[in-house]
């Protein structure tokens, strides 16, 4: 009886590059945590934490998506756009609450702009990043902003009114799917 000769094996088994790539992909998928923020408010004192958390999440390797709805849409209107909407009510709303990232009001102690002016002064004094700077950081780090289609319709805000970094508009079902699949979700 002869024993079959065994070929001497190399110390290190060759790794199939396809398998290696797949394993790496799987590892990355497991490692990536997700944060979803529903950005409902267009007020300075809420947009700020939204953008701080979103930029920090993205900087920490957490995939961050922000669902932008209701008043929350207004800060994401482009710089040059002053009035939004088609009918007089929509135009009136955007007249009363000026859209854009530089024209945010406080939820309390607004005092016809006195509050935001003082906050702006303090912000500069303490070298705190402005909502605009934070929004730019979010875009650079790949935070995904998803505008709410229903809110856009109600305010008469068109896609071209919103900043270029906005994603494809979506609805509540998308928001629910994002929130239930994320590791953490916030409504701000």
């Amino acid at each position: 009886m002869t024993t079959p000769t065994v070929e001497p094996t190399a110390d290190v088994l060759p790794i199939d590059p396809f398998v290696a790539a797949f394993a790496q992909e799987e590892e990355d998928a497991v490692a990536t945590k997700q944060l979803v923020i529903v950005n409902w408010s267009g007020e300075l004192d809420r947009i700020w934490p939204t953008l701080i958390l979103a930029s920090t999440a993205a900087a920490s390797g957490v995939q961050c998506k922000v669902f932008v709805t209701f008043w929350g849409l207004l800060p994401f209107v482009k710089d040059g756009v002053r009035l939004t909407g088609e009918n007089w009510m929509q135009k009136m709303l955007s007249f009363m609450q000026r859209p854009g990232i530089d024209h945010l009001k406080l939820s309390k102690m607004n005092f016809v702009g006195m509050g935001p002016w003082m906050i702006g002064k303090l912000r500069k004094q303490y070298k705190i990043a402005s909502p605009r700077e934070l929004l730019e950081a979010c875009e650079a780090l790949g935070v995904e902003f998803i505008p709410c289609q229903m809110s856009m319709d109600m305010f008469g805000i068109k896609r071209e009114d919103l900043i270029d970094g906005m994603g494809e508009p979506a609805g509540a079902a998308t928001a629910i799917e994002l929130m239930t699949e994320a590791n953490a979700s916030l409504f701000i």
């Binding site: 900087a59 920490s60 070298k127 705190i128 990043a129």
Partner: protein
């Protein structure tokens, strides 16, 4: 540690939360894996924040020191 080992320095002095972290994350993308990043910051919250950031990103916090008002961190890129 020799200064020449540092691949890039992030000067975040004077900046408030979250910009030191944001700038460091952006700088980390420009260096190779294993490279050292030096961060200079004056935000007192940064001592806790850089430790947390390193834990959540898998980067390694090698050194942490204080020189007057300036906090210095040396981080090894994952």
């Amino acid at each position: 540690m020799a200064v020449t080992d540092i691949a890039t320095t992030v000067d975040a002095k004077g900046l408030s939360c979250p910009m030191p972290i944001v700038r460091t994350a952006q700088a980390a993308k420009t260096v190779a894996s294993g490279a050292l990043i030096e961060v200079l910051a004056t935000d007192p919250g940064s001592t806790k924040d850089f430790a947390a950031w390193c834990r959540s990103t898998g980067n390694e916090l090698l050194e942490q020191s204080i020189d007057g008002p300036v906090y210095r961190f040396v981080i090894r890129r994952k």
